[in-house]
């Protein structure tokens, strides 16, 4: 188990290192001179020179990469050129919207998908299976931002139950804050729930065809008991993979959904920064998101070992 953990941590760190190098190369090396890129065509030479000095562009590229990396490790993400404030501060505020939104959506999709998938698998070929599968087909085909627009149209414009956008802020209470995240979370969660339901169903059906399910029935378990006690945990292996992958989709999806609901999260920040050519902010936020995705993959790997004893004893 310890060896498995060590190997995972090593590969986690290696992935992060190479990913940071890619981000650095794409954003700071490819454009040539980031300073003149950020200031645009008509910039005065002395303004460019000032920005170059501020960004430390006179240093060699490897030196800049090292200092960017060590800075991030200490929580220093540099300074936004447009806002003249530390990127770390800007990101921190917005993280408190994007992260809860993604987790909220993930929780919703799991709460919908698990019962629906189990129901469909245990009633294979029946009415409930057909109905669940029909809904999932639709759920996968609906783009989440369009679904968000429809939600706004129905619940905000027609019914007036929710506000059409904006964020109440955590200072106005958890309930209000969660309420303003609810429509975005539903919009994000439903397409993912559809995918997860299908995966849950097919994973369960695969396991149900295994020999050990016959052993379970032969020892006197009912079909339902056998499913819950023996099939579910085995089916978790593919399901966990998808949950891990989904989290990265949710993070990406959140960036778009925040635009629909005018939520001041990381997504809004990144698009504003692109428009303002504020490469420093773009670089940091991208790296942060990559970090989140890689961390989730890592956690999923750990969860595998928890579910599957064969991985724990992999060295045997």
């Amino acid at each position: 188990m310890l060896r498995y953990l060590v190997r995972r941590v090593v590969s986690l760190l290696a992935t992060l290192l190479v990913a940071s190098l890619i981000v650095f190369v794409v954003i700071e090396v490819v454009p040539g001179d980031p300073a003149s890129y950020m200031l645009g065509m008509n910039a005065q030479p002395d303004t460019v020179a000032a920005l170059r000095a501020e960004l430390g562009l006179d240093q060699s590229k490897p030196a800049r990469y090292i200092s960017w990396l060590t800075g991030m490790l200490q929580g220093d993400f540099g300074q936004s050129y447009t806002y003249k404030t530390p990127v770390a501060d800007m990101v921190q505020d917005r993280l408190w919207i994007s992260l809860p939104l993604s987790l909220y959506a993930l929780a919703l999709s799991v709460f919908i998908a698990f019962p629906a998938g189990i129901l469909a698998a245990s009633r294979r070929g029946g009415v409930s299976d057909t109905a669940v599968m029909g809904f999932t087909q639709l759920g996968i085909a609906v783009p989440n931002f369009w679904f968000a627009l429809l939600l706004v149209l129905l619940f905000a414009v027609k019914l007036g139950w929710f506000s059409a956008g904006g964020f109440a802020g955590w200072e106005s209470g958890v309930f209000q804050a969660m309420k303003s995240l609810t429509l975005p979370a539903i919009a994000l969660a439903l397409p993912q729930a559809a995918i997860l339901t299908r995966v849950m169903r097919s994973a369960l059906l695969d396991v149900l065809g295994e020999d050990f399910m016959r052993t379970a029935r032969a020892k006197g378990l009912s079909a339902r008991q056998a499913l819950l006690r023996h099939a579910l945990r085995n089916a978790m292996i593919p399901v966990l993979t998808i949950i891990g992958l989904q989290f990265s989709f949710l993070i990406a999806g959140a960036i778009i959904i925040e635009n629909v609901f005018f939520l001041p999260g990381l997504g809004r920040l990144i698009f504003q920064s692109i428009a303002q050519r504020d490469l420093i902010v773009v670089e940091s936020v991208v790296m942060l998101l990559v970090f989140a995705v890689v961390m989730v993959t890592f956690l999923v790997d750990l969860a595998y070992a928890w579910v599957d004893p064969r991985l724990r004893h992999a060295h045997r």
Partner: protein
């Protein structure tokens, strides 16, 4: 065989495809002509699906927009297959060597960058456009196909018919082309349809946030973005482009599922 498994999906896809192809020779109205007097028309006899805030015909824009969506998604699948499948074959042929390890770690790395993040990085440096959307989605497709190909061929390499080919003195390349590729074609077709539909969704998302095709080229995602501010005034602007996306993606997914049932050798062998 059972044609009805493929039929519904194929019909929906054909409908969209026909609309896109027709738009090269004929559209109800010119998509570039603005007709401010007739702006925000509701669906009716002249404009079947109404007009937008600049008086452009929605149906015409949807037809031309289909071209963008299909082209972006198709080329992105092409990139994914063109690069991913050979990489997967190579990794399986050189299994457990450093080549395999390198390819697989590279795959993991690309998985750390969702398509939107790649698009954001590319756009931040090169500016937005349809080509950048293609590259972003295409890069994202590469590890999908590489993994699928490696996984499927890895088990084939231990099969006795491949051993028999090796006994006949055939090399890894020849075996990959003669024996492995034909046995994973169905898998690739099915995954290709799925990635195609995901590509349509991704393209719509990118152009919705302004990272995709730029004006004046019509695209479904940007039509939705434009509709957002007018959603109380003219909900039909938001309705039709969304429906177009749903129909296309639904059609492709149904087609993929149908093809899977139709082509699956496991189902066919049970006779």
């Amino acid at each position: 065989m059972k044609l009805q498994t493929v039929l519904p999906g194929a019909l929906l896809v054909l409908l969209v495809l026909a609309g896109a192809l027709l738009s090269y020779v004929w559209t109800p109205f010119e998509v570039t002509t603005l007709d401010i007097r007739n702006k925000l028309d509701t669906p009716g006899a002249t404009h079947w699906l109404g007009t937008d805030h600049l008086g452009r015909d929605i149906l015409s824009m949807l037809m031309v927009g289909a071209r963008t969506s299909i082209a972006v998604a198709l080329v992105a699948v092409g990139i994914g297959m063109g690069v991913g499948v050979p990489l997967g074959l190579l990794a399986a042929a050189q299994r457990q060597s450093w080549v395999d390890e390198l390819i697989m770690r590279g795959n993991d790395l690309v998985f750390a960058f969702p398509a939107l993040l790649i698009a954001i990085m590319i756009t931040a440096v090169f500016g937005p456009g349809a080509v950048n959307a293609i590259i972003a989605i295409g890069i994202f497709n590469i590890p999908v196909f590489a993994r699928l190909t490696r996984g499927a061929t890895l088990s084939l390499w231990t099969r006795e018919f491949v051993l028999a080919a090796r006994v006949a003195g055939k090399g890894a390349l020849r075996i990959s082309v003669e024996h492995l590729l034909p046995n994973i074609t169905n898998l690739l077709i099915v995954q290709g349809t799925i990635q195609f539909s995901l590509g349509i969704l991704a393209e719509a998302g990118l152009s919705y946030v302004g990272l995709g095709a730029q004006p004046p080229i019509p695209s479904w995602g940007r039509m939705l973005a434009d509709s957002q501010t007018l959603i109380t005034l003219a909900p039909h602007l938001a309705l039709f482009p969304g429906l177009a996306i749903v129909i296309t993606v639904l059609g492709l997914n149904l087609l993929g599922d149908g093809l899977r049932d139709w082509l699956d050798p496991r189902l066919r062998r049970e006779r």
